[in-house]
Symmetry: C2
Subunit: 191 residues, 2 copies
């Protein structure tokens, strides 16, 4: 990855209120984009073993249940003495079967709101954010890094949803495909 | 670009109601994501000569005024006999000076709604969608391609906004940057 110094020089440090501000908005943003869209936009993916917008929303719900707050609690309770459970990237598949996208969007809003209530109830002090836990692949990570990742993870999936949907019009746009950056994106987030 | 046949085999043809459904939702999606977010999320960019979320919204407004409907009208009126005005990718800068993001979000919603009213008033028939205009770089393009591009252009900028915002947490996420696809995206849409 080539990032010139000036690019990194000006970026944000982790800031908990900023993280919460973003986490609060994601369900409404996905809802505004996806609810009642024709299913050709929301159920199609980028090919075998990739995700549709529907799959992404299901994955986000699964993360609320099993990833972010559970891992934050583990850091506060066990520190580095207990390794996080590996996150199951296919964990959402069974849970989403038989659900409509509208139901998943409602469920994501509810689950996120609950997670944020739990986060606020932890009353984290600045020193808590420096506490360390143990990631199964990375080793030591801080609570601050976990919470920043929660927000960036929302963004990586918004990035993915916009790419998956744009892919459906790859041929329809004709020669303009050369000008549309989203159609050059190599699918970093999939599956 | 390597796209296996099975990927292209299953994608959508252009469908005007689907295009309109997406175009209708973008202002609300950006509004839900961006309104009242801390300005460190919305005013920071990816470095010199790149755009912030604020810049992207301004650019989308500028496109409503000068690109999509004006070009559609040109195709219907002049066909291939008159070349589109080149789109000014810096055209939004002056217009957005002194505006707040909230004002731009309101203006984008208003401008888009007006554009869609004009699009509906054109009462396009299937044969109209095959009419051709002349693009300054591509040569002949169809009205269908122009309208599909309008939708995909929304998605390319949603993709960009999520990437620009995620960039701000590039360091804050620590080792998780390796798992976040959005942080590997090479900035195809910028500036």
């Amino acid at each position: 990855m080539e990032i010139a110094d000036f690019r990194l020089g000006n970026i944000m440090e982790h800031n908990l209120p900023h993280t919460i501000a973003l986490l609060t908005r994601t369900p409404a943003a996905l809802n505004a984009l996806l609810r009642d869209l024709p299913e050709t936009w929301t159920f199609k993916n980028e090919g075998e073993n990739t995700w549709s917008a529907f799959d992404v929303v299901a994955h986000l719900i699964y993360g609320e249940r099993t990833d972010w707050i559970p891992r934050a609690r583990m850091i506060l309770q066990f520190g580095e003495t207990k390794t996080f459970e590996p996150f199951d990237r296919a964990g959402h598949v069974q849970e989403s079967q038989g659900q409509s996208l509208a139901e998943l969007l409602d469920e994501f809003a509810r689950a996120r709101s609950e997670s944020l209530g739990q986060l606020r109830a932890l009353n984290l002090r600045p020193e808590d954010l420096q506490r360390r836990g143990r990631h199964p692949a990375f080793g030591a990570v801080t609570l601050s890094e976990l919470l920043a990742t929660w927000a960036a993870h929302d963004l990586t999936h918004l990035h993915q949803v916009s790419r998956v949907m744009a892919h459906q019009y790859r041929q329809a746009v004709g020669p303009w495909s050369a000008y549309l950056g989203v159609l050059q994106c190599a699918g970093h987030s999939s599956p």
